[in-house]
């Protein structure tokens, strides 16, 4: 149990560094889509909610878990939809491709 938490700390630290390096390179042009995309990815928390609701260990856990699934799923669906909509609008003025 203790060891798991330590491993988790390493994973967190490495992921935070990767996040900094990758996201630093995102053009300011795309900061709004960046925020909506990371928000959709963050909603991966839905897997925890699915297990919680699905295991049905207590009624409280099942109810809260289901609400959590609703909240996270709406972020996934809405987040990906709007990010794609925004990115489709960004067009270059360069020579038009046929």
């Amino acid at each position: 149990m203790k060891l798991d938490l330590i491993t988790s700390l390493y994973v967190f630290m490495l992921a935070a560094f990767i996040g900094f390096e990758v996201i630093r390179r995102v053009s300011p042009l795309l900061h709004t889509p960046l925020m909506s995309l990371t928000n959709a990815l963050d909603a991966i928390a839905v897997v925890g909610a699915i297990i919680l609701a699905g295991e049905h260990k207590s009624n409280l856990a099942a109810i809260l878990g289901t609400i959590a699934i609703v909240a996270a799923t709406s972020n996934i669906v809405g987040g990906f939809l709007i990010t794609d909509r925004m990115l489709r609008m960004f067009k270059s003025s360069g020579p038009k491709k046929p």
């Binding site: 889509p33 960046l34 995309l37 003025s93």
Partner: protein, 463 residues
């Protein structure tokens, strides 16, 4: 043959790779859409894998949750581009809600058999989650103008806020030492819920980009904390990526306002407002009509348009696009200068202008455009105020002194579309308006730009 657990772990592993690639591809507009696809595939894999988990006995609840989530999510994905800031704030609230509810359930399922370290991350999960939930709801309410946009300040505000945060942390410490005191747990949720509300009450509209970024970071960190609790590496990584993204954006936004985090959160702008109101002075300004503005723009070689929140409020971006077309057709070089905090969230102006079909290579950030300002014939400011205020460069007594600005005052002619001479958000007078080369164009941004376009096409005989 392969145990289900191993298979699920493999889907999570692939999802993690795809999530990192997703953000990497987002760095450039040419590959950005691949990033969305990678994210979608990773998400589908991870959810699909989770559904195979043998511990799941109640598929009905899961299905209800997923279907309801889709029903709510689709309209949230289709909101108008002008509503994107409040939609983003709302999605931070939803993410934080999910994390808080899962954390609460985990506590009641596990207590009192919780190790101190586990209780510490669980406390972090629910404290960050619940304050982000109400804070984001408040931000969304202010952006949607359901709640008053003006900052609300009162005496002892910082004391009250810090006191609440301290109390929540104190309860967390008690629970870490005595996880059997389950009656304390609800307080550890309710106090941060209140704190979230109080935190955003004093925030004004112009500070929204920083606050939304900060809430984004909190939402990510709370999800990462949830990953610690559930021992899910995928969730830790997704949370860390979201957390660092929000953090980077907060730093960029704070720098662009020359303010620190603490200054934004425990803000001083309320006081400045009161002080600045007394020092209004009447100085002459030069104004011009749409006809005159059109003639000057048509004669220019290089025009820089500086949009601000006023353009979004007036919904003027499509008229601005017509102006861009009309001038480009006459051979005028038109670019846009975008300040990092223009609008209500990071990148707000870029999205609105892209929606109006303005090519993204014409949208330049502050550093790129400022070098060109001295060679610019006309700088046209539409609904932006403080981000063009030269006092930030020259007047050490100005509250915004040191804030990086768009140097529109270096252009040969400056035109400012503005409703009236009323001061901007911070109540700070803008010396730009009184310069010799400045012309004020009084009126609604959308109408005025429309009138200029009409004058320009009238000259061509396109009536």
């Amino acid at each position: 043959m392969m145990p289900t657990e191993t298979f699920i772990e493999i889907t999570y592993f692939i999802a993690t790779i795809l999530f990192i690639l997703s953000l990497k591809w987002l760095s450039s507009p040419t590959t950005a859409r691949h990033g969305v696809w990678a994210g979608e595939i990773g998400m589908a894999l991870a959810i699909g894998g989770t559904l195979l988990y043998r511990g799941i006995v109640d598929y009905k609840l899961v299905a209800i949750g997923l279907v309801l989530g889709c029903i709510i999510g689709v309209p949230l994905g289709k909101v108008a581009m002008t509503a994107v800031p409040q939609r983003t704030a709302l999605s931070h609230a939803f993410g934080a809600l999910c994390v808080t509810l899962v954390g609460t359930s985990e506590f009641y399922l596990r207590a009192p058999n919780i190790s101190p370290f586990m209780m510490a991350v669980l406390s972090m999960e629910v404290i960050l989650g619940s304050l982000t939930f109400t804070g984001s709801l408040m931000a969304a309410g202010k952006l949607q103008e359901i709640l008053p946009q003006r900052p609300i300040t009162y005496k002892g505000q910082n004391f009250v806020n810090l006191g609440m945060l301290g109390l929540a942390i104190a309860i967390a410490v008690i629970l870490v030492l005595h996880p059997d005191k389950t009656t304390l747990f609800p307080a550890m949720i309710i106090i941060p819920l209140l704190f979230g509300v109080m935190l955003v009450i004093p925030i004004g509209g112009a500070d929204m980009p920083t606050v939304i970024s900060l809430l984004n970071s909190y939402a990510g960190l709370s999800a990462a904390a949830m990953g610690f609790v559930l021992n899910s590496k995928l969730l830790i990584i997704a949370g860390a990526l979201d957390g660092s993204s929000g953090f980077i954006l907060s730093v960029i936004m704070s720098k662009a306002m020359n303010r620190s985090f603490t200054n934004v959160l425990f803000g001083g702008f309320g006081q400045i407002q009161a002080a600045a109101a007394g020092t209004q002075e009447q100085r002459p300004v030069k104004s011009a009509t749409a006809e005159e503005a059109a003639a000057i723009l048509a004669a220019a070689n290089k025009v820089v348009i500086v949009p601000g929140y006023g353009m979004a409020v007036a919904q003027a971006q499509h008229k601005v696009r017509e102006l861009f077309d009309a001038l480009t057709k006459r051979g005028v070089d038109v670019t846009f200068g975008i300040h990092p905090v223009a609008g209500r969230m990071p990148g707000h102006m870029n999205v609105l202008l892209a929606e109006a079909d303005i090519p993204y290579d014409k949208l330049l950030d502050m550093d790129a455009i400022n070098g060109d300002m001295a060679q610019t014939d006309v700088a046209l400011v539409i609904g932006a105020n403080d981000v063009t205020n030269p006092a930030a460069r020259t007047d050490a007594s100005s509250p915004i002194f040191g804030m990086p600005i768009l140097d529109v005052d270096k252009a040969r002619t400056v035109m400012v579309i503005k409703r009236s001479m009323a001061a901007g958000f911070a109540g700070i007078d803008n010396p730009l308006y009184y310069l010799d080369q400045t012309l004020m164009l009084f009126g609604d941004a959308k109408n005025f730009v429309g009138n200029i376009v009409r004058e320009l096409s009238g000259g061509d005989g396109h009536h």
